[in-house]
């Protein structure tokens, strides 16, 4: 989606975290692997927290589509009622 390449999507991050938790719970991975999975999990959480930082609420107006099918977007500021 709009996510920058470095931005992991929430749903992906949480899915991976669930998998990591399952791996750790089942205890079938070696201690070494467990630890690296834990580290990965912590990293994912950090990224998720990071995404909740930039709370600039973006609103755009779609005026139409251009000849190549790309969206023609403009800034939009809601008028008072």
């Amino acid at each position: 989606m709009s996510a920058k390449p470095t931005e992991i999507r929430f749903e992906d991050a949480l899915r991976e975290l669930d998998q990591i938790l399952r791996d750790l719970e089942e205890g079938a991975v070696s201690l070494e692997d467990s630890l690296s999975r834990y580290e990965r999990g912590v990293n994912l959480l950090k990224q998720c927290h990071g995404q909740l930082q930039n709370a600039e609420h973006r609103v755009k107006m779609l005026a139409g589509t251009k000849d190549d099918g790309a969206p023609d977007l403009h800034p939009f500021s809601p008028q008072a009622k």
């Binding site: 709009s2 912590v42 927290h49 930039n54 609420h57 609103v59």
Partner: protein
């Protein structure tokens, strides 16, 4: 008695007779209203409709020309009670007397309402409302489209709700008229535009919210149009309908993947509350740590068990290194999120307290057990033993020695 010629006798051709009679009928029954039941209804390929109107005692043939039936708002069918307006005439070629219907209304229901019911029935048969085709909504949306009027309360309410709950979602408004002649087609066109952008990946959306604020039934009419239903049905991304108030239920609501009672409610059901998400992340953090510590405790126990037999001292040292690394990672995470995350401090504190109690025996006391081969190898995989072999299970209190029946 022999026939006597009467000089005033006038012999007419059939055609003249029928036409005279037709003249009488058409002059004296120019406009009649008649109520009856439709039977033998047929749509001819010419576009004209033919049917019979009947009641318990009589019947009359009826014809509704293609010009006239274009204005009929519902689909007539056998068994329907209707009121027809028309004039009487004779169809000369058959000599049959009939009513030429100019106007046809269902009895009981208004024709608008009947048309709406019939459209609903038609769409239902085509599977437009099927629950199994409703798509789930993205739980952490990053971009949403809104098709509604750029003016008015609806867009204002929705944007405010986005800002309060989940400001991380970009909102793309596609403004359009939401009432008046042609607004249904306009709404449908806007949904198709959004759908096309999504489908071609030019601009992707986690959902499109289609709606408007409250109004009279007449104001909401556009959302009952077939064009809007079609656009929603074929939309490439999930659609949330948000039309009017709780009590208003339109066809758009039935077709959409999710139906919101109001525009504000649409945003509420589409977005998480950001504080909930933060709490959720903290919970993940806690579970991760808890699991990791438990994993470590198992490992420690395993090593200690072996260490009791005077063999290896090395693994214990190695384990301590692991524990140190774990603490180190945890510390780094805490530093990273500490200032963002007051809540997580509490859960980390709670976790620390819980970890105190995570001694190996405490783990066993919660119902876990450790199973080993008589040689002392910890069993993790049923395939590691064969039927007939002896295994030893350590419980919180005591040990069990068992023989494997099957794996």
């Amino acid at each position: 008695m022999p026939p006597t010629a009467t000089p005033e006798r006038e012999v007419l051709s059939v055609n003249t007779l029928v036409n005279r009679a037709r003249g009488h009928l058409e002059t004296n029954f120019q406009t009649v209203w008649v109520e009856g039941e439709i039977t033998g209804f047929k749509k001819h390929s010419s576009g004209h409709w033919y049917f019979t109107l009947k009641d318990e005692r009589a019947q009359i043939r009826a014809m509704c020309s293609s010009g006239a039936n274009r204005r009929v708002r519902f689909d007539p069918a056998d068994g329907m009670q209707v009121i027809a307006r028309g004039r009487l005439t004779i169809f000369p070629a058959q000599g049959s007397f009939q009513i030429d219907v100019e106007q046809l209304e269902p009895k009981g229901l208004g024709s608008e309402e009947l048309a709406l019911r019939q459209l609903k029935e038609k769409l239902r048969k085509q599977g437009y409302f099927a629950p199994q085709r409703k798509r789930p909504l993205q739980r952490w949306p990053r971009r949403a489209a809104i098709v509604t009027s750029a003016k008015g309360a609806a867009i204002h309410d929705m944007l405010r709700q986005f800002a309060i709950r989940w400001p991380f979602c970009e909102v793309v408004l596609r403004p359009c008229r939401v009432q008046g002649e042609g607004s249904g087609d306009e709404i449908a066109g806007c949904i198709r535009m959004v759908s096309e952008l999504h489908r071609t990946k030019k601009l992707q959306f986690h959902a499109v919210i289609v709606g408007r604020g409250g109004g009279s039934a007449e104001d909401l009419k556009a959302f009952n149009e077939e064009a809007v239903a079609d656009a929603i049905f074929h939309c490439s991304c999930p659609v949330i309908s948000a039309v009017g108030h709780e009590a208003d239920w339109t066809i758009a609501d039935e077709v959409a993947d999710a139906r919101a009672s109001t525009p504000t409610n649409a945003v509420t059901l589409f977005t998480p509350l950001h504080t909930d998400v933060r709490r959720n992340l903290s919970e993940y953090h806690a579970r991760l740590r808890e699991n990791m510590y438990r994993r470590l405790q198992f490992a420690r126990q395993e090593v200690e068990h072996r260490a009791m037999r005077p063999v290896l001292k090395q693994p214990l040292r190695r384990l301590r290194e692991f524990e140190q690394r774990l603490d180190d990672i945890a510390d780094r995470l805490e530093r990273a999120v500490a200032n963002r995350l007051r809540k997580s401090d509490e859960s980390v504190a709670a976790l620390a307290a819980r970890l105190e109690s995570l001694s190996p025996l405490n783990i066993l006391s919660r119902g876990y057990s450790l199973t080993r081969t008589p040689g002392g190898t910890l069993l993790r995989d049923a395939a590691a033993v064969r039927p007939g072999e002896v295994i030893v299970t350590r419980l919180a209190n005591g040990e069990l020695t068992s023989r494997v029946e099957a794996t």
